[in-house]
């Protein structure tokens, strides 16, 4: 193991890579979601979701409440509640025992297979660090446990030593001391660092973060975001980053998928999507989130109406009841326009950008 270069004088360290770049296989899909649909009763919660994350890639998934972004993450983890019936395919490829690639078909796999995958091939960081940690266990033991479960360390002693090392790398001051603390003795930001340490402990091929900094103060957020990015970079892992905050996604990710009403409505490189949005929803969202931008008549740009409850979005284009450009045409589901699931949009009346990039 080689020590990761420290970027600053502060202990927000990257993780030691377990692979040197020479060993790294060419970019492979660590998560491949195709035609994923989830319904509860007759309410569609997710429809036709296509998503790919490769090694070393940071993909953002943005959307508002009810957009289905968290549900997509749970589907990849195989953590959907039992009463939800998913269809389609979700394939996760991670590094199984002995470095041999292990592929899991999440929707078909049994609980045993999923347990082997979770925390090893895919790890997840949730919004609330307090509920993600066991309040009755010392944090060091919790970090060590994820390694002993998957036998990625030789024995308990090694796990405990590695746990302290990891806690040090995520920037907990005096890691040996911190490992003996209980979650309630740490601040919110420190707790989230512990959760990140747990998630990265087994060098997963894919890290899923679901609003990891929404509950944190803004100054702590900046540091935790940096920590997550460095953690996945050092491991050449894929990152699926879920948030409602456009600015956060732009700071962290290279590629982004915009979800609304359970569908992916637009996808592409961050810079393209945010500077030249094609879908009317993406455009509206960017306008409404920009507090520096005013309408000619004064006031911020808005999207009319409110986000429907999950499963209550209109048929056809999910955005049409709030869209100022909606026509009869939008009563049919607009086809996906673009080179593939990674780049394109589904809008019958897309925003037209003239040469020069202005919108």
């Amino acid at each position: 193991m080689t020590a990761a270069p420290e970027h600053t004088a502060y202990p927000v360290g990257g993780m030691p890579p377990t692979r040197t770049p020479a060993d790294t296989p060419p970019p492979a899909d660590v998560a491949r979601v195709r035609d994923l649909a989830v319904t509860v009763g007759h309410k569609p919660l997710l429809i036709d979701v296509d998503l790919t994350v490769r090694r070393g890639e940071r993909v953002g998934l943005i959307g508002e409440s009810g957009s289905g972004k968290s549900l997509t993450a749970l589907a990849i983890m195989g953590l959907l509640p039992e009463d939800l019936a998913p269809t389609g395919s979700v394939v996760v490829t991670g590094q199984g025992p002995g470095g041999i690639a292990r592929t899991t078909s999440v929707l078909e796999a049994g609980e045993h297979g999923l347990a082997a995958m979770r925390g090893r091939d895919v790890a997840m960081v949730f919004q609330e660090p307090m509920t993600a940690l066991n309040p009755t266990m010392r944090v060091g033991a919790q970090v060590a446990e994820v390694m002993t479960i998957h036998r990625t360390v030789a024995d308990r002693g090694a796990a405990a030593r590695r746990a302290v090392e990891l806690l040090d790398k995520v920037g907990l001051p005096d890691a040996a001391e911190a490992a003996r603390a209980y979650p309630h003795q740490l601040s919110g930001g420190q707790r989230q660092r512990v959760v990140v340490a747990m998630a990265l402990a087994n060098d997963p091929a894919l890290l899923i973060c679901d609003e990891p900094t929404t509950a944190l103060d803004v100054t702590v957020q900046a540091l935790v975001l940096d920590l997550i990015v460095r953690g996945v970079e050092a491991r050449d892992a894929g990152l699926l980053f879920i948030t409602h905050d456009l600015a956060v996604v732009a700071s962290v990710c290279e590629r982004v998928l915009v979800m609304y009403g359970g569908r992916v409505v637009e996808a592409g490189p961050v810079l393209d999507v945010f500077t030249r949005p094609r879908h009317r929803y993406t455009r509206g969202l960017i306008g409404a989130s920009d507090l520096d931008l005013s309408r000619p008549e004064g006031g911020l740009y808005t999207i009319q109406g409110s986000v429907p409850a999950a499963g209550r979005f209109p048929a056809g284009c999910v955005f049409r009841n709030r869209c100022t450009h909606a026509t009869v045409e939008c009563e049919a589901v607009p086809p996906w326009v673009g080179s593939g699931p990674e780049e394109g949009f589904a809008c019958a009346h897309p925003v037209v950008h003239h040469e020069g990039g202005g919108s």
Binding site: E64, T219, Q221, A222, A247, S251, T275, S289, G299, I303
Partner: protein, 318 residues
């Protein structure tokens, strides 16, 4: 002094933690360590700070829902800090609150018309249905909304209900506690526009508390930055936002991700580095602060005598 809506002087609020030992009393938490400021009539005054900085406590004290340990709070020229709650009826007619959580602040078992009419009923008005419809209209909701329950509305609509309730007694001052931070992005702009329009149309004085400097920048003309129970910087919002003087304000500005900046290459690593650089300054400053804490805590208005000589003195409110 007639143009001063709210005047806060040297407000200190200490809490005692519940005791954990039979012999020793619980430790004391200093939620506010001597806060002073004035809000002029018609001003849009923002208070920015992170969780635990004391901004919520300050807000409760201004609203007469909590008592300061020491110091003075005047609203409309009347001292409210020593009055028991039952003698604050005049305050309720003048100052109203909008809360952060639009679900939690609406009684789930009451219909919207009863919720909005509550401040009116409290003041002895009966038969308020026409006023309720008027208020619903003012916040952009249909009259039919009056007969529904809060859970039947979306987050943004609930916040409109909450705003309608606050406007019911025709107050002069509106105090908003993180009113948009629980809302979806696409709805946030609507609510901000609504607040903007109402404050202007009804010529209200606005006190707006938020953790988000950019929201405050959009809404307010003046801002006070709070950290650890103190106001560390105060001044016109443009100045504080563009050229923050106090290290803590710098840290807040540095850490906030902004879409345009991010697209121009301000990645998470840059954010973190800038935040840490500002924090380094901040921790130097606060260690100097801590040394002379009891000497002169922090009256933010005049330049403090010793503790912050080396950091730029906080600005005055206009």
């Amino acid at each position: 002094m007639t143009d001063v809506a709210i005047s806060v002087r040297d407000v200190v609020r200490d809490y005692r933690r519940p005791r954990t030992s039979l012999t020793k009393p619980g430790s004391v938490v200093h939620a506010l360590r001597g806060v002073s400021f004035d809000v002029a009539r018609g001003q849009r005054f923002g208070i920015v700070g992170e969780s635990g900085c004391g901004k919520s406590t300050l807000l409760r004290i201004i609203a007469g829902l909590d008592q300061p340990t020491s110091g003075s709070v005047q609203v409309g020229g009347v001292e409210i800090s020593r009055l028991p709650e039952r003698r604050l009826r005049f305050l309720r007619a003048q100052l109203q609150l909008v809360f952060q959580d639009p679900m939690g602040s609406l009684d789930p078992r009451m219909r919207v018309r009863d919720i909005i009419a509550e401040p009116l009923v409290a003041q002895g008005h009966r038969d308020n249905i026409s006023r309720v419809h008027e208020l619903l209209d003012a916040v952009g909701l249909q009259p039919e909304a009056a007969d529904r329950f809060p859970h039947q509305f979306s987050g943004g609509q609930r916040q409109r209900i909450s705003i309608a309730r606050a406007l019911a007694p025709d107050p002069r001052i509106l105090v908003a506690d993180e009113p948009v931070s629980a809302l979806d992005v696409s709805v946030r702009a609507q609510v901000l526009n609504l607040l903007d329009e109402l404050v202007q149309r009804l010529s209200l004085t606005l006190v707006f508390v938020s953790h988000d400097l950019s929201v405050v920048r959009h809404v307010c003309d003046t801002v006070a930055v709070m950290s650890r129970g103190e106001i560390v910087e105060m001044g016109p919002i443009g100045d504080v936002y563009d050229t923050p003087a106090h290290p803590y304000s710098r840290q807040l500005v540095a850490a906030a991700p902004r879409l345009q900046a991010a697209l121009a290459g301000r990645t998470a690593a840059v954010l973190a580095a800038e935040t840490l650089a500002a924090r380094a300054l901040s921790s130097n400053a606060s260690s100097r602060n801590a040394v002379s804490r009891n000497a002169a805590d922090s009256d933010p208005k005049p330049t403090p005598p010793t503790p912050e000589q080396t950091t730029p003195p906080p600005k005055d409110a206009p």
